[in-house]
Amino acid sequence: MLARLTSPRFLRAALPPASFAVLLAAIFYLQPRAMSYFGMNLMLQYTVPIALATIAQMFILTVNDLDLSIGPFVGLTACIGATLLSGNPALGVLALAACVGAYAALGALIHWRNLPSIVVTLGMSFVWLGIAVLILPTPGGTAPAWIKALMGLKVPFVPFPIVAAVAIGLIVHFALMKSSYGAVLRGYGGNARAVGRAGWSLLKIKVVMYSAAGFFGVLSGLSLIGLTSAADAHIADRYTLYAIAGVILGGGEFVGGRVSPIGAVIGALTLALTGSFLTFLKISPDWQIGAQGGILIIVLALRALINRREG
């Protein structure tokens, strides 16, 4: 029993929930009043958009790529949501579908020309930002009422962000980890050539994964304006970093298709908490970004220790 509990495999899986629990315990210790329905709701309110952006990044990492444009992309979809979607729903839906289509096309382009995803997505981050600035030059717009109503949902006993996060995690878990095509998709990250030899279309895998990332990016942007009710081109610039950090905190690997949707959602929850934690610690806002980097490094160091034991 003890051997099983100290095996690297178990430790690695336990790291994300453990870091979340430690952080939560520390917050309750610092500020006991946070331990309430209202307190939790407030602390975790931005979990949903962060979790959705994290899942989007996870899809890209599954096929051994990295998306440095997910933040501006979420910002763009937020701008579309707060302008086109509330003014002219049909046109709004069309524009959001075009966004997903653009991601699919990027996946195809990256596969076709064997391009480095960092350079392509770094370039695209300017394109997303530019379009967002054209759509909404100054902060403003209004979120459609139904999104606001959805995000303001009150669930008895358990705060809505937690319910939503668990639902997102489970849905993606079953799609990516339990379905047979999900295994093929993850196999691309492990050994693309072998998957190709087995007769699967590598182009299709890339396109599917990039479309999925685009789709979750759209959801992230929409859920974000449901909380803020207005949008701005720069509203989600930090989401690029949040999404990468979320996947890593959740135990995802950078290569090899070893990812975990549930872990990614827990990583997003942990990230949403760090902001409150640092505020309760009375750390000056100057050090907020640095502390997030620090937490990331600590988790990575713990994982490196566990992996070393595996040998």
């Binding site: 530019g130 054209l134 950078f254 640095g290 980097g293 490094i297 990575l300």
Partner: protein, 315 residues
């Protein structure tokens, strides 16, 4: 004919062709008015992109996955610390430069330690460390409004016959780095590692030592850029490094250095940096809005990498 063939095979030629095309388009649109001034302004601004671009080039050349994302924070950090130490006094100029280089050294060593000890991809390592560096810069430089020493400001903005002095210095420096890349043991080792790290190791190259030197070099270049840039723009600001993340990678790629590693060239960085600046100038003269400028910049980078891409990592 063979001369033409020879030139067209040089990877850096395309960035210079792009530069001339964009400049010519601007000159035709304005009827040739101020076309010389445009070049001299472009030289001034491209200088800073070239400085960080050279560091980034060495990092990218060591192979796939090697990118330094901590350049922007290092620029802000080094600029803020140097300005505070010097306090606007010419007498402390040398001290300021030394401290600035010290900041770069510290960031470079820290980056490499993360990569080596935590065994994480350089992208993630430099990203995490950039958070810490940026926070340090913010906390240290809060409300920082210190003018650079007059001597530094004069040097960074000096012009002789319409040619920026700093640009000339950095052109000479680029020539030196080109020699380092192609003719020294260090440069050849970087290329060898980029082509095949295992073969390089078997051939007796100290792979880890070279990678260490490369990350330190990149951070030193970023620190130097921060030092000179705060002299150029009348003081350090916390977001002054921001635009150099994309710029440093873009000039390397557009300049004809292979993202798969193992193939690099320095002249292309100059051509690409000039091209990037002249492109924005052209869009400005055409009266394009901020949104259009962003879209065009992004699309051109994607287009260039699409055309240049396709070469598989040599393995």
């Amino acid at each position: 004919m063979t001369l033409f063939k020879q030139i067209s095979q040089k990877a850096w030629i395309w960035s210079f062709l792009g530069m001339f095309a964009v400049w010519l388009a601007t000159a035709i649109y304005t009827g040739g008015k101020g076309s010389a001034d445009v070049i001299s302004t472009a030289l001034s601004f491209a200088t800073f992109t070239v400085i960080v671009g050279i560091g980034q080039m060495f990092v990218i050349t060591t192979g796939p996955g090697n990118v330094d994302l901590s350049i922007p924070s290092t620029i802000s950090f080094s600029g803020a610390v140097a300005m505070k130490i010097m306090g606007g006094s010419d007498a402390l100029l040398a001290v300021g430069l030394l401290v600035s280089m010290g900041c770069g050294l510290a960031v470079g060593v820290f980056n490499y330690m993360l990569i080596r000890l935590l065994r994480i991809p350089p992208i993630i390592a430099t990203l995490s460390s950039s958070f810490l560096v940026l926070s340090t810069a913010i906390a240290y430089g809060r409300g920082l409004k210190i003018k650079p020493p007059p001597l530094l400001a004069d040097f960074a903005t000096a012009m002789v016959w319409g040619v920026p002095v700093l640009a000339v210095v950095i052109i000479l420096f680029a020539v030196l780095m080109s020699v380092v890349l192609n003719r020294t043991l260090y440069g050849r080792s970087v290329l060898a590692i980029g082509q095949n790290p295992r073969a390089a190791w078997l051939a007796g190259i100290q792979v880890e030592r070279i990678r260490f030197a490369t990350y330190v070099l990149s951070a030193l270049m970023a620190a130097l850029c921060g030092f000179l840039l705060s002299g150029f723009s009348g003081g350090a600001s916390l977001n002054m490094g921001q635009e150099y993340l994309l710029a440093s990678i873009a000039v390397v790629v557009i300049g004809g250095t292979s993202v798969a590693g193992g193939k690099a060239n320095v002249p292309g960085i100059w051509g690409a940096a000039m091209f990037m600046f002249l492109l924005v100038t052209m869009l400005n003269t055409f009266g394009a809005s901020a949104g259009i400028r962003l879209i065009m910049t992004g699309l051109i980078i994607v287009a260039v990498i699409t055309i240049a891409g396709g070469d598989k990592p040599q393995r």
